[in-house]
């Protein structure tokens, strides 16, 4: 981690958005989009810029599932756990995803390639079960399809 570079980006995003009403979420999104997570040094910087306590800023970051306080892997894979996906074999996919990657939800694979997360509805309920891979949604994901996705993300050859 390059803390000096992160600091620059945090300051840049604070300056770009601080004048907006209700600026905290837009700034947090911008920081996470740029860095992949919200580093600890963002909290005091945001508190100072927005004239709010560090506790308040920390409270906001920790309230929302989307904001990460640890760096993610190179890719983020989210598996939907909600009802529609459960109706189409989602529980089996959840188990397969964790077993295949050797990680629990919220963790990153040992090679740093993939962070696995649970998500509650991707709005793709007509094509359940659904998975989000970075900014792409994938529908009707079987265990085999999940393995293909993972292989592609790792840049491996997809076996026939």
């Amino acid at each position: 981690m390059d803390e000096a570079r992160d600091k620059q980006i945090i300051q840049r995003e604070i300056e770009a958005h601080r004048a907006m009403p209700g600026a905290l979420l837009p700034i947090l999104h911008a920081i996470q989009d740029a860095l992949g997570w919200i580093p600890p040094q963002a909290t005091p910087a945001l508190a100072q810029a927005l004239n709010r306590s560090r506790a308040e800023v920390h409270g906001v970051i920790s309230f929302y599932h989307h904001f990460r306080t640890t760096p993610p892997g190179r890719h983020v894979v989210q598996v939907c756990r909600a009802e529609s996906c459960q109706a189409m074999g989602g529980a089996a996919l959840e188990a397969h995803a964790q077993a295949a990657l050797g990680t629990a939800f919220g963790e990153t694979t040992a090679d740093g390639a993939i962070t696995l997360e649970a998500v509650y509805c991707l709005g793709n309920c007509a094509c359940s079960p659904a998975v989000r891979v970075d900014d792409d949604i994938v529908g009707r994901v079987s265990s085999a399809r999940f393995d293909e996705i993972v292989a592609t993300l790792r840049g491996e050859q997809v076996s026939a």
Binding site: L25, E83, C85, C125, C127
Partner: protein
């Protein structure tokens, strides 16, 4: 004239490979030296046929689907550009029974138009409602919405016109329109489809709301799980601003309305209207006590109209065609249409916009084609994670807000999730409590603590530990959550739990005759 081909850029279609199909069509057309224009529409809402490719032949659209990139050379070979026959040919799109029998008012343009073309939007009746709203007095616009009978499509079904009237009546320097696009209910995707397939319709609805109540600024609070909808909305807002459908001088009227998209951050509770306001203000999404009503003291303390995407997107039709036209659809006090969303274990999943009064059985079998697995449909959750599980004995109740309330269920945002007979309803009840525990904002005790205790009690019931007492405890806990929670999160989590126990007691190891 080049041949027009439509390939959806709806995220559901993209999730099944629509982008690869569009690229394959472009490449194959280039290889053959055929000139085609590939247009990017939303989805028609027939997801079992996605990616659905349409070709305009003689002024009519012919459908092919589900198409994979590998099918594309074969389609060219079969001369699909002239409507040639092919195993994937579906005939005229408008004549596909699933679509032909719907009442598409709010979704009239979704899947038809190029989502980001204002010219297309206008050619299909767009901005007629806004033009009329500009000519009317604000109170007349509000009356039109009130007279239409439109009720909040987010789930609470509160009369939209009455909410607008309150904001109109409340004097303030600044008022706001806040669109709730935090569509978090599992089994729902109509907001997403509309924003991706007809974003100008939402923009027009919000602009009309602004004129009606005297608000000059709008926010769309969009969930972060919708990256495609986000890009589409941003592009549409920019396009609308460029030609004066947003900004300081709406359609040359001298009146102002502008809007901005704000992203949520993965908190289901922010679909609750006051938690959404807190989030828009840059705070934790904690539910506010009411009163004050948001219509009087809402965003940044100012009078605020908060409506769901579908409520706002229904308004252009109401203004363009009149309150009576809209009110003529529906039954009882449920007027107009609802875009139902068929999800879960169904053969034909997708969007069905119909007048209120249709039954679940018609939706599940006539439209949905029964279960995808071929097994009997055993339980159906209507209205998202806070909605009741409906057993087959209730499939013939007409879908109408009051009829559903009378049987202890709710229509909510119109999501319908079907489960076949392999479902374990005790697990689903446990999941409802678990979900509440994960997503509770934590402000009120019945929701924050009750949900965790609920998981534990259900675990003991499943394990058969002192079942009689645990069932009484669960019943009492559900009473407390229903009566004592600040909002629907804790207040309605008992709906799926109690309905599961009532109608599917044997899954809990309970003799059906003993169930509460």
């Amino acid at each position: 004239m080049t041949i027009q081909i439509h390939v959806p850029m709806d995220s559901g279609a993209l999730s099944l490979g629509a982008e690869q199909v569009a690229q394959a069509i472009a490449a194959e057309a280039a290889r053959r030296g055929v000139e085609v224009t590939i247009r990017r529409n939303g989805s028609r809402g027939m997801y079992w046929l996605e990616p659905l490719v349409e070709v305009s032949v003689g002024g009519q659209r012919r459908a092919y689907g589900p198409v994979t990139a590998a099918d594309v050379p074969g389609l060219f070979e079969a001369d699909f550009l002239q409507g040639g026959t092919h195993p994937l040919a579906l005939g005229l799109t408008d004549e596909i029974p699933f679509l032909a029998r719907q009442n598409r008012l709010t979704f009239a343009r979704v899947g038809v138009v190029d989502a980001l073309s204002i010219a297309d939007y206008v050619a299909h009746g767009g901005f007629v409602g806004l033009a009329r709203a500009i000519r009317l007095e604000p109170a007349e616009v509000v009356r039109e919405v009130t007279d239409s009978g439109l009720r909040g499509r987010g789930g609470a079904a509160f009369p939209t016109g009455i909410k607008w009237q309150t904001v109109l009546n409340t004097p303030a320097e600044q008022k706001y329109i806040a669109c709730n696009a935090d569509e978090g209910d599992s089994g729902t995707f109509s907001d997403r489809m509309l924003m991706e397939g007809d974003p100008f319709c939402l923009i027009e609805g919000m602009a009309i709301a602004g004129l009606a109540v005297g608000a000059t600024k709008g926010y769309i609070y969009l969930r972060s799980e919708y990256p495609h909808a986000h890009r589409t909305l941003e592009a549409a807002i920019e396009a609308a601003r460029r030609v004066g459908y947003l900004g300081a001088n709406l359609m040359g009227s001298g009146r102002a309305f502008d809007l901005e998209v704000r992203l949520g951050a993965g908190a289901y509770i922010c679909g609750e209207e006051t938690a959404m306001l807190e989030s828009l203000e840059g705070k934790r999404g904690i539910v506010r006590a009411k009163p004050p009503l948001p219509a009087i003291e809402g965003l940044f303390g100012q009078p605020t109209v908060i409506n769901n995407v579908i409520s706002l997107a229904s308004v252009p039709t109401i203004l363009a065609r009149g309150a009576a036209f809209y009110r003529d659809y529906g039954v009882g006090r449920s007027r107009g249409t609802l875009p139902f969303q068929l999800a879960g274990n169904l053969r034909r999943t997708g969007l069905v916009e119909l007048a209120f009064g249709v039954t679940l059985r018609e939706l599940l079998y006539d439209y949905g084609g029964g279960s995808a697995s071929g097994r009997p449909i055993r339980a159906v959750q209507v209205g998202g994670p806070l909605g009741a599980y409906v057993p087959e004995s209730q499939f013939d109740t007409p879908l109408d807000y009051e009829a559903y309330m009378a049987m202890g269920a709710m229509i909510g945002h119109g999501g319908i999730v079907a489960f076949d007979d392999s479902v374990d309803m005790a697990k689903m009840a446990r999941y409802a409590m678990e979900f509440c525990a994960i997503e509770s904002c934590g402000k009120c005790t019945p929701c924050r603590i009750g949900s965790t205790r609920g998981v534990e009690v259900i675990d003991r019931i499943i394990a058969g530990e002192d079942r009689g007492r645990q069932l009484a405890l669960l019943d009492s806990l559900c009473d407390t959550m229903e009566a004592g929670s600040l909002c629907a999160m804790g207040g309605m989590t008992p709906y799926p739990v109690r309905s599961a126990l009532k109608y599917f007691a044997r899954d809990f190891g309970v003799d059906e005759t003993q169930a509460a």
